[in-house]
């Protein structure tokens, strides 16, 4: 869902580090396949489950479930967006032994929970096995960590990326809408000549950059029996880094801190022409740049290789079952219903713009409607195509809070011209490796 904010992440790093150290004695640090737990009904007449989520309006969806399933009653607990405090609360609750049965966790945070033994493997549950085929392939890789028959969560939503652009400005200036990154750079020059900027390179929030790297087939982490491999400075990522470094050096992109008033204003005042962002970005622009209503359009994101089209992903979350629950079977039932039934997915899309992770979900009637702000374009078509083009191999690490904090520190220097994107990544990789070592997470040299 919402992109990680480096600020709030940094705020919680201290506490996260403390709790990680306290819990990392657990032996499940590597990718050793763990037996999926026996998944049998508890046999109790009425099971009460607690479920923590920060999705606005999820109470109504859960109320529907409770009506239809008198035997499995779910109680919703709420909190702030994951990185703004809820993850920290999960860690605290796991330590105290009173974690909820189910919780919302974004893909990039799942590995942190798994490393600490916080997640129940519900891959052995019939209902989960049956549901696997319904999900977009790469989302299943995110929750199974590539293990056969495992599932540490059920995918909920995704953030496939596409190109939001000002159709009116491109047309007036006679510039073609770029389909490749080369064309994007050329368009950037022409737009600069018109006095605009092609886009804003987010320096406070590195998840957009991660999405670009993901599109190019990068993976920042991988793990096997011998430990974790940290590959933030892999070739695919560096290619992306150098591309943006070049645009930054030629002053073709803006560097406003994302999600601020200045940033909104840059879009609202037509200074910035495009934004390569995730499906939820449709709302962000609509809200931040109300004066430009009707002038935006959405196209697939620019490609490195048009022969093998790919898209990045930015955000997305899953519903995990926490270890220590007495009711893995019932929890799995609910999590699967919440993320596969048309009823639930429609309600979620309506109330909180949750973009479903199932292939069927992409064809929901609510996602077939034109959007007025985008000139009545059915923008969801573009994202549905993108969702299926996201590469599967991208893996998040177990200490993402720290990784984000250290890379985004570097990115802030990039904005002032005192550092480069590549340097920020190199420093981020070093910091990540040392954090992992300090938490006794095995790292391969």
């Amino acid at each position: 869902m919402r992109p990680t904010r480096a600020v709030s992440a940094a705020l919680l790093t201290v506490f996260a580090a403390a709790s990680v150290v306290a819990c990392s004695s657990d032996d499940s640090t590597t990718n050793t396949p763990t037996e999926a737990a026996e998944c049998a009904p508890s046999g109790e007449e009425t099971v009460n489950l607690s479920f923590t989520s920060w999705i606005p309006g999820i109470e109504d969806v859960v109320a529907t479930w409770n009506e239809q399933n008198p035997g499995i009653q779910v109680e919703v607990q709420t909190g702030p967006n994951g990185n703004s405090g809820t993850y920290q609360n999960f860690f605290n609750q796991l330590r105290a032994g009173n974690a909820p049965d189910l919780g919302q966790i974004e893909y990039d945070a799942l590995a942190s929970f798994r490393v600490q033994g916080g997640l129940e493997n519900i891959g052995g549950c019939d209902v989960v096995q049956d549901a696997q085929g319904k999900f977009i392939d790469w989302t299943w890789d995110q929750v199974s960590f590539g293990e056969e028959g495992a599932a540490y969560a059920v995918p909920q939503d995704t953030g496939p990326m596409a190109l939001f652009y000002r159709a009116d400005l491109f047309e007036e200036a006679g510039i073609a809408v770029p389909t490749t990154w080369d064309e994007y750079a050329q368009a950037a020059e022409k737009i600069a000549a018109e006095g605009g900027k092609i886009t804003n390179f987010s320096t406070a929030d590195i998840n957009q950059f991660a999405g670009f790297a993901w599109q190019n087939g990068a993976s920042w982490f991988s793990a096997d029996d011998a430990g974790w491999d940290v590959t933030i400075t892999g070739d695919e990522t560096l290619e992306v880094a150098n591309y943006w470094q070049d645009l930054l050096e030629r002053d073709l992109v803006a560097t406003y801190p994302a999600w601020t008033d200045e940033w909104n204003n840059a879009y609202n005042s037509s200074e910035v022409w495009t934004w390569v962002s995730a499906v939820w970005g449709a709302n962000t622009i609509q809200d931040g740049a109300p004066d430009t209503a009707g002038q935006w359009a959405v196209a697939p994101m620019p490609q490195w290789d048009t022969a093998a089209p790919a898209a990045g992903n930015w955000g997305g979350s899953s519903i995990a079952v926490f270890s220590g629950t007495d009711y893995p079977y019932e929890a799995a039932q609910f999590a699967t219903w919440l993320n596969t039934s048309e009823e639930a997915l429609t309600m979620l899309a309506d109330s909180a713009n949750i973009y479903p992770a199932t292939t069927e979900g992409l064809t929901l009637p609510v996602l077939q409607e034109g959007v007025e702000f985008y000139g009545d374009q059915v923008i969801w078509d573009v994202f549905a195509e993108a969702a299926n083009q996201v590469p599967s191999n991208f893996t998040w690490g177990p200490t993402m809070t720290d990784t984000y904090a250290s890379i985004s520190d570097g990115f802030k220097l990039v904005a002032t011209g005192t550092s480069t994107v590549e340097d920020a990544l190199v420093n981020g990789e070093e910091a990540t490796v040392s954090t992992m070592k300090s938490q006794s997470i095995p790292v391969k040299e």
Binding site: P56, Q77, P80, G85, N98, D261, N283
Partner: protein
């Protein structure tokens, strides 16, 4: 006692002041002082002014117009939209905040007063050690205590309850410290002895005599408590999951973290933040007379 003598003394001193240098010297020192004050006032008031202006705007004006000046006046519709959103959960949060704060301030002040009074007026072994431990408590930020508190409350199954936030709000080391100073200064031993001679027991003396003498100090302490609890954020963040018992600070924070999914929340957060500072402003203006006195009383003696 001193009130009767003070005016005479002031009158007596006046003729000795050199009339010529007085005003000029004060004018010279006044200008920079006023300048600094003015800048400080602006610095503190600007965000509140911005918040007020922002709360009067609709969503589109919020982005389009100058942040420090008004556009179309939408305050009342913003407020009613806020109060209607999610069945008025915002009002519930305000009530919760009031319950945590008023209860915490009253009981917390009473506990602090009793403790400080005992430390000031009774001789017992370990008194100074006890006082130093309490004083050490002033130095420990509430934030660092939140996690241990969470683990303790987990043991007794009290997390995510009203009590998990209310009970820790009742203790105020700083209040104990102030109470001791004020009790030592404003409750004369002679009065206590007189009360004892009259046959009053210690508890009764405290509630009928001492507490009245300490009253200005207690207003100050309860005001500090009030502000501290009203603004306390980290403890509820860690303890509470149930929207129905959240204070307004945590509720607004939750909304603020969901803005990217539900953009209209931005307006609700702004209006909600404006409404939530009103009780603080009211509290300060109503009690201003008392707490000024309270602070002064300690300083003079």
């Amino acid at each position: 006692m001193s009130q009767t003598t003070a005016p005479t003394r002031r009158r007596a001193r006046q003729p000795h002041q050199p009339a010529a240098t007085g005003p000029r010297a004060s004018l010279l020192s006044q200008v920079p002082a006023m300048g600094v004050m003015l800048i400080a006032t602006l610095t503190f008031l600007t965000p509140i002014w911005w918040l007020f202006v922002a709360s009067t705007k609709n969503r589109s004006d919020l982005v389009n117009t100058n942040g420090l000046w008004f556009a179309d006046w939408n305050l009342s519709s913003n407020v009613s939209a806020l109060l209607e959103y999610r069945d008025g959960v915002y009002l519930q949060w305000l009530l919760n905040s009031a319950a945590y704060t008023i209860g915490g301030a009253l009981i917390g002040t009473l506990l602090a007063a009793m403790c400080g009074y005992a430390l000031a007026k009774y001789q017992f072994r370990g008194r100074e050690v006890l006082f130093n431990v309490v004083l050490g408590g002033v130095l420990v930020p509430l934030t660092t205590l939140a996690l241990p508190l969470f683990l303790m409350f987990s043991l007794v199954n009290l997390t995510n309850t009203f009590w998990s936030v209310f009970l820790p709000s009742l203790v105020s080391p700083f209040g104990v410290y102030l109470s001791r100073i004020f009790a030592a200064a404003s409750v004369p031993d002679e009065v206590l002895e007189a009360a004892r001679l009259d046959g009053s027991n210690e508890v009764r003396t405290f509630f009928t005599v001492s507490i009245r003498l300490m009253f200005p100090a207690l207003v100050t302490i309860s005001l500090f408590q009030f502000v501290a609890i009203w603004n306390n954020f980290f403890l509820p963040l860690i303890m509470l999951r149930d929207e129905a018992i959240m204070p307004v600070t945590l509720g607004l924070y939750n909304w603020n973290s969901q803005i990217s999914q539900i953009p209209e929340l931005r307006g609700y957060v702004l209006t909600g933040a404006l409404l939530s500072v009103i009780p603080l402003i009211l509290m300060f203006s109503l009690l201003q007379r008392f707490w000024k006195n309270g602070l002064g009383a300690g300083a003079i003696k």
